[in-house]
């Protein structure tokens, strides 16, 4: 969703290229600073469980977020810190989930990247890759049945998820039903440690589109400008009723699969090639070249963001953890149908 984080007034997507780039860049920087903060908290032993960062994928993710609007549906995945923020998630909620605050959207019942607000169109992922795509389909399907139109659903996945049966079934289903789904595949060359040569045999993931009967576009995931154009274009085409859109972005993950992983398996040649560029650096340089920002304003932006992240993280850490003794240990919403077994 197009809104600056420091104020809640939405900025129209037609505000012009400069505005869009600045807003997107800010979300990228915010995501990067927040991710770095989580990484350092993890190394300090302050985060329980895994930490999964999106370093290197901020451009693509932010592009998704700023291309969507209120009423759309977004199922982000592991590397979508930027997209989540751009879609309207608060830094505080992200921090709360990682730091286990009882006040976070998942209330400690799930953690790290498994967070969302389903009723606001922000779907919380489950760990099984590919599983969220059909859920997006379901929301779009239901809205259409209710007579609501003009919305788009984006599901974000990686190269690895394209091997799952869930991906196949869901993309097929969306195509049959001609749903306004945009499936964004971040091909970052590795699924954990598995290179794409062991993930699929076709030349290019984009080649799969014809098999499903859907439109496809490819994009350089390190280039914010390109991402905004391509992702924005795909969203527009889906919204206009052209059926599901596949977007395949090429980039490189600039961190481990999780912070517990040092990514020693990444081919150094890839790291050194253009696909290994840091999209944040590329976007920053682009802004400077376009004279849409200068070094000072970027520094000010960064300082503000650092303060914002520090404050949110500090607040989340002050908040209470869930208390197992007051926790409502019921998994069924209909009270009397809970069995109350083992409530001891």
């Amino acid at each position: 969703m197009l809104q600056t984080v420091s104020d809640t007034k939405p900025v129209s997507v037609r505000a012009g290229e400069r505005e869009v780039h600045l807003v997107a860049y800010r979300f990228m920087l915010l995501a990067r600073v927040l991710d770095d903060k989580f990484a350092s908290l993890w190394r300090a032993g302050r985060i329980h469980g895994g930490v999964f960062l999106g370093r290197g994928q901020e451009a693509l993710s932010a592009a998704i977020g700023v291309s969507l609007k209120k009423g759309d549906v977004f199922a982000p995945l592991i590397r979508d810190a930027a997209g989540r923020l751009a879609f309207g998630e608060s830094v505080l909620d992200a921090a709360r989930t990682y730091l286990g605050s009882a006040l976070g959207p998942m209330r400690g019942r799930d953690g790290n990247v498994h967070r969302g607000k389903p009723r606001e169109g922000y779907l919380p992922m489950i760990s099984h890759l590919g599983a969220m795509i059909s859920v997006v389909n379901g929301v779009l399907f239901a809205r259409r049945m209710k007579g609501i139109g003009g919305m788009v659903g984006v599901a974000s996945i990686g190269d690895g998820a394209t091997s799952t049966g869930s991906f196949h079934e869901a993309l097929n289903q969306a195509a049959i039903e001609k749903l306004p789904l945009v499936l964004v595949v971040a091909d970052n060359h590795y699924a954990y440690s598995t290179p794409t040569s062991r993930q699929f045999a076709c030349e290019n993931l984009a080649d799969k589109a014809i098999g499903y009967g859907v439109e496809v576009q490819s994009v350089d995931g390190t280039d914010l400008n390109a991402c905004l154009k391509v992702v924005g274009g795909a969203v527009a085409r889906a919204r206009a009723g052209h059926g599901p859109q596949l977007v395949v972005a090429t980039l490189l993950r600039l961190c481990g699969h999780g912070e517990h992983d040092d990514a020693g398996y990444v081919d150094p040649k890839l790291k050194a090639s253009p696909v290994g560029r840091d999209c944040l650096k590329v976007a920053g340089e682009f802004l400077l070249r376009q004279k849409w920002a200068d070094t000072a304003s970027l520094k000010t932006m960064r300082d503000e963001i650092v303060r914002e992240v520090e404050e949110a993280v500090a607040q989340a850490q002050r908040e209470p953890a869930p208390d197992p003794f007051v926790e409502d240990w019921r998994a069924i919403s209909t009270g009397h149908l809970n069995e109350g077994l083992e409530q001891g």
């Binding site: 959207p105 998942m106 209330r107 019942r109 799930d110 498994h114 969302g116 607000k117 389903p118 009723r119 779907l123 919380p124 489950i126 760990s127 099984h128 599983a131 969220m132 795509i133 059909s134 859920v135 997006v136 389909n137 379901g138 929301v139 779009l140 399907f141 239901a142 809205r143 049945m145 209710k146 049966g165 869930s166 079934e169 869901a170 097929n172 289903q173 049959i176 019921r330 998994a331 069924i332 919403s333 209909t334 009397h336 149908l337 809970n338 069995e339």
Partner: protein, 321 residues
């Protein structure tokens, strides 16, 4: 006028579609074809756009159902056979069952599973799946044994805001008939005394209720009056009714068509033994299918599952102890 178990299910769905615009049915061959068992015959015509054919994609079917439920709809997913729900298992147990607990957003879906054995069905058209689903928190599992319950419990399932696994017994589809549909019923979560007795309690569910009733008939001339409890819901399970029955009779035999390791029969016995130890005059027993996949040949199939005769034999062992 008589109505079959299958027709009752169709009636319930028609009723639900009529009364609630949020309801829709999604499954393989459910549209114009009316479903593999004709459970949705003519419904696509009567309710255009609300009874829809899905591709052979149980995973995507279930994911779509969850998405629709988030959006406020009340989808009914028809699995063609319970045995095929395993390809959608992940979405049922990790997406649907966990949604409310993780996000506080309820998931009002109903998954209809044609389950249980028929002669010649073989390993992949005969399975009882209630155990694996009951094990996961967040799911309600129902096993109607009568035409009346097939109707009223399906209506209630659709109305419940939580994911319901509705286990319809394929054998009962055409073999069980009733005179008419009920106007009122026991609620979900309550078991029914199918036969009042004195000397022993047999707890059963779905098709096994009928085997238990036959066994009771076999034992009556021998001077034994057996009480039969029809569980109706597996989860939640009506422990109180079972306990009260065992309090009257002192003897418990649990019968299930599912496999022996764990499951409904083990669960009932665990509860009665720990909460009602002092009610038992003899050790509680259970009778299940053999611990192998369900065989195809009728000779093997009839030996694989509990029959009225086997139930009576097991009962006798306990009655004579």
């Amino acid at each position: 006028m008589s109505i079959t178990y299958l027709e009752a299910i169709r009636e319930a769905q028609a009723h639900a579609l009529r009364d609630d615009p949020r309801v829709f049915i999604y499954g393989q061959d459910v549209g114009a074809f009316g479903g593999a068992f004709k459970a949705t015959k003519n419904l696509a015509k009567e309710f255009p756009g609300r009874v829809l054919d899905s591709p052979i994609s149980e995973d995507a079917m279930m994911g779509l159902a969850v998405g629709a439920a988030i959006e406020g709809m009340r989808p009914i997913i028809e699995m063609q056979f319970a045995d095929f729900s395993t390809t959608g298992f992940n979405q049922i147990v990790n997406q649907a069952a966990a949604l409310f607990w993780r996000t506080n957003v309820p998931c009002p879906i109903t998954v209809r599973l044609p389950f249980g054995g028929t002669s010649g069905g073989g390993p992949f058209h005969s399975q009882c799946m209630e155990t694996v689903y009951a094990h996961y928190p967040g799911l309600i599992v129902l096993t109607p044994a009568t035409v009346e319950d097939a109707y009223s419990m399906l209506l209630e399932a659709v109305a419940i805001d939580d994911p319901v696994i509705f286990c319809e017994h394929k054998f009962l589809y055409y073999h069980l008939k009733a005179e008419k549909l009920p106007s009122e019923a026991l609620p979900v979560g309550k078991a029914r005394i199918a036969r009042v007795g004195r000397d022993m309690t047999i707890v059963a569910y779905s098709a096994m209720v009928h085997e238990a009733l036959e066994a009771a008939k076999e034992l009556s001339p021998e001077g034994w009056e057996v009480e039969v409890v029809d569980l109706r819901s597996i989860k939640p399970l009506d422990t109180d009714t079972v306990m009260a029955s065992v309090a009257r009779t002192g003897r418990l035999l649990c019968v299930g068509e599912a496999w022996p390791w764990g499951g409904v029969t083990a669960e009932v016995i665990a509860r009665v033994t720990s909460e009602g130890f002092g009610l038992l005059d003899v050790p509680p027993q259970r009778l299940n299918a053999k611990d192998t996949p369900v065989p195809y040949h009728p000779n093997l199939w009839t030996a694989h599952r509990p029959t009225a005769h086997a139930v009576a034999a097991a009962a006798r062992k306990l009655l004579r102890l």
